[in-house]
């Protein structure tokens, strides 16, 4: 089995240093994340667990460069993304990040295939659209509009869209939330393959504690703070999962 590089500072792909994110809601301050420090090694498969509202999506958004921290520093591949301007951020999002959003966010006026191409067209080096659709088991539904797809199918389009750009980092929010057990396992296996074969770094948010077994590391957050980091010396095969 593929092992990520060792946790020495030079090998860190992703570094969060004392990152906080607060939202101003009128007079109230919502601390979505507070003082999070986290280092991720290239090729790592990380599962993030936490109850609703604990800050998981916020964390992914910050890493994905679509939100910026109130304080702290985030470095990806030696680039301090918290210091980037809009142009730099756009480039970063385009080339480094594949995002599967919690609410899929498909373009309703584009078909499944077109939704994937919508992202693919942004990069030169991309994967074959049909191949990616096949990977998520959607080749048959390629020409359907989102409103003609089930929730799980929509989610799989979103996964295909994230993978097609062939980015070094995949951020998956509630990857399997809408999927049945079999499809879920199938998708997780695909993720693992991408992680192992293509050496992609994967951060996967879920409510499902069982999924933690397939990760190299499991991170638990509660109320915006990391409360537990657990190393998994021998990650399980997704096929062995039970939930």
């Amino acid at each position: 089995m593929f092992k990520p590089a060792s946790g020495e500072p030079g090998n860190f792909l992703l570094q969060l240093e004392d990152v906080s994110r607060t939202y101003q809601m009128g007079l109230m301050e919502v601390k979505a994340l507070s003082h999070v420090t986290l280092n991720v090694v290239r090729g790592e498969f990380i599962v993030i667990l936490g109850p609703s509202g604990s800050g998981k999506t916020t964390l992914l958004n910050l890493i994905g460069g679509i939100d910026s921290p109130s304080s702290g520093k985030i470095t990806v591949d030696g680039i301090e993304i918290t210091a980037l301007d809009e142009k730099g951020l756009t480039f970063y999002r385009r080339h480094h990040i594949g995002f599967v959003f919690q609410f899929f966010n498909l373009i309703p006026t584009l078909t499944a295939k077109e939704n994937v191409e919508f992202a693919a067209e942004l990069v030169e080096k991309r994967r074959d659209v049909l191949e990616v659709l096949e990977l998520v088991g959607l080749q048959e539904r390629a020409s359907h509009y989102p409103s003609e797809l089930s929730g799980g199918e929509q989610q799989r389009v979103a996964i295909a869209r994230a993978m097609v750009k062939d980015p070094p980092i995949l951020l998956c929010d509630e990857l399997t939330g809408e999927l049945d057990f079999e499809t879920g396992k199938h998708i997780l296996a695909a993720m693992r393959r991408i992680n192992e074969v293509n050496h992609k770094t994967v951060l996967l948010v879920t409510h499902n504690t069982a999924i933690g077994d397939i990760a190299h590391r499991v991170i638990r957050i509660r109320s915006g703070e990391i409360v537990e980091v657990r190393e998994n010396p021998s990650p399980a095969d997704p096929q062995e999962l039970r939930w």
Binding site: I66, R93, F101, F103, N105, F118, E121, S147, K165
Partner: protein, 786 residues
């Protein structure tokens, strides 16, 4: 096609009704601009060309009487290119088969065997004079057409009580009578009672006994200083008593055409502008709602790596598509419309020469002015789209709060309203911006219809004022030469005459400081009942020995105020009169004095120039015949006939206004449709949810209707205010010394406009309601997560 472009196409198709509505506004605006502006240019260049070909005078000087040799003397003045000296007299004209009808003919002399150097004519039918022809004349075309006169027909001129027969040699058009105005005061002269004929110089000399000149027409060298030449000419002609100097701009026909053309040009600018403002507004509303509704998609675009610029361009393209389609199709339609409009106008005026060129520049301008507002209107929404923060934009908006609206908190009884009323009310206040757009749509719709409606009303009101308040006489007899006052009581004795009053019209020049205005001073009896005078405040006033009353328009023209003194220069004398007031006027600008004062201005003779009559309708015709038997009678005008003619003439202006009103209504439809449809479609999810909860389609339609009606009512008042202000503005453009319009909007017009807009609104919402009611509920609910 990349996927971003495909998204544009699909989004356009998804809301094609809305886009088409906005495109239609731009289309109409550009088409209107193209049609009127190109027609304006065509007319302008056709006028110029006609004037050039027929050597239309740069200025004309009227004198009492000058010998023919004066022409050579004037020709030697430097800067003068050509001079024509001629006779210009008004003579009673008899027409074949209409012996009882008198017509006043303006008889103008032309060289017997050659063409005049200035103010030439174009022979449309028949031929110019040939030598040794005897009594021949040329008849101006519009007059000839009205009376169906042909070459070889015979007409009669009455000179010294003798009817002399003339053969018509030809039908002509003249640069001085393209618009056959009798004078600047009588711009709407009826061909029924007024016509222009041209007679050989020798013949006129024979008629009046000796050759003389009372009018000189001048062409000056290009670039020469007209004012100084005029001064020199006036100096040279001083011994012959200069009566009037008329520049090309003041020449009645040209002034009328110019005024008409300028109003046309102004409309060509202002009216399309209105459309384009509305078009820009509609584009803005449509785009900002699209951006609002696509927040999540925009967030996604940014999150997967589309740049700010790509997002900006993406949304700007929607505006561009509206602009390009609307502007180009509008320019093409405008071009064809302009042809029709130009031909219509040219035919109406019977222009002798036309010069029509393809106005590429004007068409280009049309495209540009259609495109620009769209692009500008698109910038703001597109920019705000590009500035959305991706994470925030993608968060599904929190469900609408069940919070009570202010209204409910202030007036607790609202809480007790049924949901049929409560939901629409809450919707209105919860999304204030969207509600505001609908209100704005209605505001513009109302004002656009009201503007044209108000103008139509005002024209009819003008006629009412003129005929019911000012010109209250039934008939007016006008004499070619002054007659004794005794005639008034003689005529009063005729059968069927109820009332008769004297009138004396004296041609004068009104002078105040350096301002001069040539017009008639009208003498009336102080207790006149047949000629109504009203102060600017609306009270009835009468002429008095204390001074002169002036038409309202002269206040500005002469820059004069009540209490100041004015010089009234007439042929025999100069009198000084105090201005005692200003009176309302409909057509023309005059001075009003007592009959006695008028007689002293005219040289202290006990004379009148006409008689005003009230007659019993059944006797009108016999009275007219009797009046024509008075030898000096030039014309007998029956008010009922004048009114009918004027109605016909104005029908044309009114039909233009109806067309404008049609455009206004189309525009109202487009903007109201856009805002109303946006309002309904935006709530598809909400409506779908309501339906899954068990609301019936009928109740949903009722709620939408209530909401729209409330918003529509809110738009009525600002719409009326805006429409009134716009109408006032248009009217300020129409005020001249020739026409004085008061803006009048009948209350029924307000009601009809409001009713029409509400109707438009109710119809506009139908497609939207139908669409949401047809929705596949499960699909819409699914969209919620997409």
């Amino acid at each position: 096609m990349n996927k971003l472009q495909r998204k544009v196409v699909r989004d356009l198709a998804a809301s094609k009704g809305l886009f088409l509505a906005v495109i239609m506004v731009i289309f109409l605006g550009v088409a209107l601009f193209g049609a009127s502006f190109i027609a304006y240019q065509n007319l302008r260049s056709s006028y110029d060309y006609t004037y050039e070909r027929l050597r239309f005078a740069d200025f004309t000087v009227k004198v009492v009487e000058a010998p023919t040799e004066t022409v050579e003397e004037l020709e030697s003045i430097p800067g003068i290119e050509a001079v024509t000296g001629r006779m210009n007299v008004d003579i009673a004209l008899g027409l074949p088969g209409e012996e009882t009808r008198g017509v006043l003919a303006r008889v103008i002399s032309l060289p017997s065997d050659s063409r005049p150097a200035v103010n030439d004519v174009k022979v449309e039918e028949g031929s110019y004079f040939q030598e040794g022809e005897g009594n021949v004349l040329l008849v101006e075309k519009s007059f000839a057409e009205h009376h169906e006169l042909k070459p070889e027909d015979t007409v009669f001129l009455t000179v010294d009580d003798q009817e002399i027969s003339f053969r018509i040699a030809g039908i002509i058009t003249s640069p001085e009578y393209i618009w056959p105005a009798k004078s600047r005061q009588e711009i709407l002269a009826s061909p029924e009672t007024f016509g222009v004929v041209f007679v050989p110089q020798d013949t006129v000399s024979g008629l009046v006994g000796k050759p003389f000149i009372n009018e000189f027409c001048f062409l000056i060298d290009e670039g020469a200083d007209r004012d100084s030449i005029i001064a020199e000419v006036v100096g040279t002609l001083a011994p012959y008593e200069v009566m009037d100097v008329v520049t090309q701009e003041e020449q009645p026909s040209n002034a009328a055409l110019e005024m008409d053309l300028e109003q046309f040009g102004e409309m060509a600018r202002v009216f399309p502008l209105l459309f384009l403002i509305v078009g820009a507004l509609a584009t803005y509303i449509l785009l900002s709602r699209i951006v609002h509704n696509q927040r999540a998609q925009i967030g996604l675009m940014r999150a997967v790596g589309y740049s700010r610029r790509q997002v900006l361009v993406h949304y700007q393209i929607f505006a561009l598509v509206i602009g390009i389609i609307g502007a180009i199709s509008g320019a093409i339609a405008g071009y064809f419309l302009s042809e029709a409009l130009t031909n219509f106008y040219i035919g109406l005026l019977g222009l002798p020469f036309t010069r029509i060129e393809t106005q590429w520049l004007a068409m280009g301008e049309g495209v540009l002015i259609g495109l620009l507002p769209c692009i500008i209107a698109g910038i703001l929404p597109a920019y705000s789209a590009s500035r959305l923060r991706p994470a925030e934009a993608m968060r599904t908006p929190p469900p609408a709060t069940g919070r009570k609206i202010l209204l409910e908190r202030l007036f607790p009884f609202f809480t007790r309203l049924s949901s049929l009323w409560k939901i629409p009310l809450r919707n209105i206040f919860r999304n204030r911006r969207r509600s505001l757009y609908t209100v704005i749509g209605v505001t513009f719709g109302v004002s656009l219809i009201l503007v044209s409606g108000g103008m139509i009303d005002s024209i009819y009101a003008l006629l009412d004022v003129h005929f019911d308040k000012i010109q209250t006489y039934d008939a007016q007899v006008t004499f070619a030469q002054p007659q004794s006052t005794a005639l008034v009581s003689e005529v009063k004795g005729w059968e069927g005459v109820e009332e008769s009053e004297p009138i004396l019209q004296v041609p004068t020049r009104l002078e105040h400081e350096d301002r001069v205005y040539s017009t008639l001073v009208i003498g009336l009896s102080p207790d006149s009942e047949l000629y109504g005078l009203y102060s600017t405040g609306g009270d009835q006033v009468t002429v008095s020995e204390e001074g002169i009353l002036l038409s309202e328009g002269l206040r500005k023209t002469l820059d004069i105020h009540v209490g100041e003194t004015i010089n009234v220069r007439s042929l025999p004398a100069v009198s000084q009169l105090e201005v005692v007031g200003f009176v309302k006027q409909t057509m023309g600008s005059f001075g009003y004095v007592t009959l006695h004062q008028a007689q002293s201005i005219a040289g202290d003779q006990d004379v009148i120039s006409g008689i005003l009559l009230n007659v019993e309708p059944q006797h009108a015709d016999t009275i007219r015949e009797k009046a024509y038997q008075i030898p000096a009678t030039a014309s007998v005008e029956l008010t009922s006939e004048t009114r009918k003619e004027l109605d016909e003439m104005l029908d044309y202006a009114v039909s233009m206004l109806w067309i404008m009103l049609g455009f206004g209504a189309a525009l109202a439809l487009a903007i109201v449709f856009t805002t109303v449809t946006v309002n309904i479609l935006e709530r598809r999810r909400e409506i779908a949810t309501m339906r899954t909860l068990g609301e019936s389609k009928t109740r949903i339609a009722a709620m939408a209707t209530i909401e729209n009606l409330l918003l529509g009512l809110a738009g009525l008042i600002p719409g009326i205010i805006l429409g009134y202000a716009l109408a006032l503005y248009f009217f300020s453009l129409l005020q001249t010394d020739v026409f004085s319009f008061d803006l009048v909007i009948f209350s029924r017009t307000y009601v009809l406009t409001a009713g029409l807009v509400i109707l438009i609104m109710l119809i506009s919402q139908l497609p939207g309601i139908r669409q949401v009611n047809r929705l596949n509920l499960s699909q819409v609910i699914k969209e919620q997560v997409t």
